[in-house]
């Protein structure tokens, strides 16, 4: 499947098909992460984050500066380097490496792309907090919200599927769940700020 087809699939919301195609890049990423001190699990995490970043960008405005595989590789390289940076405090002595250490290499991203990723990392912690608030909701609540926003089902179908008496009560319930998530998120934000 060529890059444009994949991008088009994402734009039209057919994420599953696009992800199947994109996952073919995973072995290269696994090799990258494992060759630089990570586990397969690390590789999966990094790859998942990169896919999220990619899809998020495609939905806004995305100009592909290189092939998709190159871009993904670059993003993963960046993310993994950031991880290493967090984990490893001391870099071994190597007079030859000055100015050329692999820690500084960009993995083929443009400066703009790299800067975008820093901004993404800034927002990410916020969004992860929201994700946590959602995970702490009752299963039924979370499911309802996900179906509402991402299933493309009509209100009527949702009401039927989730066993609500009327469309109105489904809608009402959705906002109640949203409110619960919001309240929890506010608490979590408050906690992280005071720490």
């Amino acid at each position: 499947m060529d890059d444009q087809t994949i991008l088009e699939l994402i734009r039209t919301g057919k994420n599953d098909l696009a992800l199947n195609a994109l996952y073919r890049n995973f072995p290269a990423i696994r090799k990258l992460v494992r060759s630089r001190g990570g586990s397969t699990k690390d590789a999966e995490d990094v790859f998942q984050e990169a896919l999220m970043i990619l899809i998020g960008k495609v939905k806004k405005d995305f100009r592909l500066s290189a092939r998709l595989s190159t871009y993904l590789y670059g993003v993963c390289h960046f993310l993994w380097t950031e991880q290493l940076r967090k984990r490893r405090q001391q870099v071994p002595f190597d007079p030859q490496a000055e100015g050329a250490s692999d820690i500084t290499s960009k993995g083929g991203l443009t400066v703009t792309e790299e800067v975008d990723l820093y901004v993404h990392l800034q927002h990410e912690s916020r969004i992860r907090l929201a994700e946590q608030a959602l995970n702490e909701l009752k299963d039924r609540c979370r499911e309802l919200l996900l179906i509402f926003y991402y299933s493309r089902l009509s209100l009527k179908e949702i009401a039927a599927k989730m066993g609500f008496g009327s469309e109105n009560s489904a809608k009402n319930q959705k906002y109640k769940c949203l409110e619960a998530a919001r309240t929890r998120l506010k608490e979590l934000q408050h906690q992280t700020q005071t720490h």
Binding site: F26, L51, G56, I103, I127, L129
Partner: protein
């Protein structure tokens, strides 16, 4: 539904862009004045982003499962192979372990290098590790069996010595070793050394009182070093290489003690950094330049130099213009000799910090450039649009022509010039119909008499704001500029504060600007008089507060608005990015150096521009 739920629905419509233009305008107006609502919108937006993430995560999980299912059989095969290999490895390791233990003694543990020698001829062996062994003809008696095979083991580092199990002890006392060599015929041969042979060892470190020891293997297989003798040949003379190196080191030591010791040590940071292994960290030319005169090196923006300078409290190093290349080389020999005693990993090399700085500079440089461009594209901070009856008059354009009409140029001091200030996050718009510049006061209007008006703005705002004078009754609006030789006093016509004014009329002076990312504002109302000094003290305010403060006054339909600048959103995004990369700046260092990182050719902006 409950009202809170209704509000959530409304917020959702706003986030989805489903509000009608009228509703949208109403909602945004409400948003501007309601911090609670802003927080609610932000929370709801975050929740939506979190949902998006959760839904994507589950889609990705699905793709991952399908991926592994597709390649599943391969994993099965590989897994089996692993198990078998694992078993073999375990058996092997366990058996090996049991037999290993620590084998005492030197010679059986590992094999050295083996050389075949014809004992009837002079031979010079140069070993792989750099020892030179001179075997004169007939120095080895092999009982006629040719060639003789010699096994040679060398140890120069602690690691080598441990590998060969060579202990550095002499009759129970520890020795410090410059190098060891073991020369013997391969096992089973009966060759003996019968005459002296010459051995030169490439010791990494040299000490004055180094001696030659002979290793004797005791009954437990341990080596005891005995029979110390001075280094050199049988007559006690040192080789040429040895003696010249000794002299160089001694000379280097003397120079080091005289010139450097008061601030530097080999092992530890004192007033200046530790110098151990410095010759590995910096090129010789850099070392020469820096020792002789460090000022130009620092001024050139050399990252290493600047970093060291910063973390050592900007203590300037003395200059040593008279040290010759040879002097410095000798000092390096001395330092190199001493460095052997310490672990190179213990000396800070600052590689990490410098890499970090380069990375920071590369990214910050690109961001700053963008930011500058965006600020330029914002246009002037204060947009003044005063329509008089016929045309649009933009104040700030030189009013000289009008002045020239009315007053002889020589009779009047220079006119104040309003300063151009960039708009970063905010833009002020001043708009009105039928308004005039102060020049109109020069036209002999009734009741207008010579006066003096000075407006003082408290620092640090004086250099950040635009100051305006409004006479609503006369529809006069004018921007001020610094008085002569002042950095905080503003005047509105000439640089000495003179201006013709009608006395006893309602007037305002106000200052607008931005300081550290926030709009600042101050206004004073007064009645005009012959001589006045007015003080303005700007304070940070929100856009809405400023608008409200202005609307509160009767400005005779002069309209003043504050809005986000055209590129405010993008500039703030860049600020976020700059803040995000600021963590690359090492502690105590501003990365104020101009060295370029890697192959990138982004010229570095040395100083971060603070949002003003």
């Amino acid at each position: 539904m409950r009202p809170e739920l209704d509000l959530m629905e409304r917020i959702e419509q706003y986030l989805n862009g489903e509000l009608s233009p009228d509703d949208l305008a109403a909602f945004e107006a409400q948003l501007a004045g309601d911090a609670f609502l802003r927080e609610a919108v932000q929370l709801q937006q975050d929740i939506r982003a979190g949902l998006e993430r959760a839904s994507l995560a589950s889609a990705i999980l699905g793709a991952k499962r399908r991926f592994y299912r597709r390649i599943g059989y391969r994993w099965g095969g590989f897994g089996l192979g692993l198990a078998v290999v694992g078993l073999v490895a375990v058996v092997f390791l366990t058996r090996h372990d049991r037999r290993m233990g620590i084998v005492p003694g030197v010679l059986t543990a590992t094999h050295g290098e083996v050389y075949a020698i014809d004992t009837r001829r002079d031979t010079l062996l140069c070993t792989a590790h750099g020892a030179k062994i001179h075997l004169p003809a007939g120095s080895i008696d092999a009982g006629g069996a040719e060639p003789v095979r010699l096994e040679i083991k060398e140890a120069y580092t602690i690691a080598d010595m441990l590998r060969y199990g060579l202990l550095t002890q002499s009759n129970g006392k520890p020795l410090s070793s410059g190098g060891m060599i073991d020369i013997r015929p391969v096992a089973g041969s009966s060759a003996r050394i019968v005459r002296p042979i010459g051995v030169a060892l490439p010791s990494l470190r040299m000490e004055d009182n180094m001696q030659l020891y002979k290793g004797v293997v005791d009954e437990k297989g341990k080596v005891n070093w005995t029979d110390p003798r001075p280094l050199g040949d049988s007559s006690g003379r040192l080789g040429i290489e040895d003696s010249s190196r000794r002299r160089a080191i001694a000379d280097g030591k003397r120079l080091f003690e005289t010139n450097c010791r008061s601030c530097h040590s080999i092992r530890a940071a004192v007033i200046g950094p530790a110098l151990g292994y410095i010759y590995q960290r910096r090129p010789q030319k850099w070392i020469n330049d820096f020792i002789r005169n460090n000022t130009p090196v620092l001024a050139s923006g050399d990252c290493y130099a600047r970093y060291i300078y910063n973390i050592f409290n900007k203590t300037p190093m003395n200059t040593f213009p008279n040290l010759s290349d040879r002097d410095i080389r000798n000092m390096m020999d001395y330092i190199a000799n001493e460095s052997q005693l310490i672990d190179s990993n213990r000396v800070p090399n600052y590689t990490r910090e410098l890499d970090s700085c380069r990375r920071y500079n590369r990214l910050a440089g690109a961001l700053e450039k963008n930011r500058e461009t965006l600020i330029q594209a914002n246009g002037p901070r204060t947009d003044i649009i005063l329509h008089d009856d016929t045309s649009v008059q933009v104040i700030g354009d030189a009013p000289d022509s009008i002045v020239a009409d009315t007053v002889a140029p020589s009779a009047m001091p220079a006119i104040v010039i309003p300063a151009e200030r960039p708009s970063i996050y905010y833009q002020f718009t001043v708009e009105g119909f039928g308004w005039y510049n102060v020049d109109v006061l020069l036209k002999d209007l009734p009741g207008v008499v010579p006066s003096e008006l000075r407006v003082r703005v408290t620092p640090p705002f004086a250099s950040e704001v635009n100051v305006f004078l409004v006479l609503p009754g006369r529809k006069i609006f004018s921007e001020g500029g610094f008085l002569k030789d002042s950095k905080m006093e503003f005047g509105f016509l000439t640089e000495d504060g003179q201006i013709p004014l009608p006395w006893g009329e309602q007037a305002y002076v106000f200052a607008t600007g931005e300081y550290r990312g926030k709009p600042v504002f101050a206004i004073r109302s007064f009645l005009t008089a012959r001589q006045q000094n007015i003080s303005l003290q700007p304070v940070p305010m929100t856009k809405e507060e400023i608008t409200a403060a202005i609307n509160h006054l009767d400005l005779n339909q002069l309209n003043i608005r504050v809005a986000d600048s055209r590129n405010a959103v993008r500039i703030r995004a860049i600020d976020t990015a700059l803040a995000a990369i600021a963590r690359f700046k090492p502690l105590h260092c501003d990365c104020d150096c101009g060295e370029l990182g890697g192959s990138d050719t982004v010229r570095i902006v040395a100083r971060l521009i603070m949002p003003r």
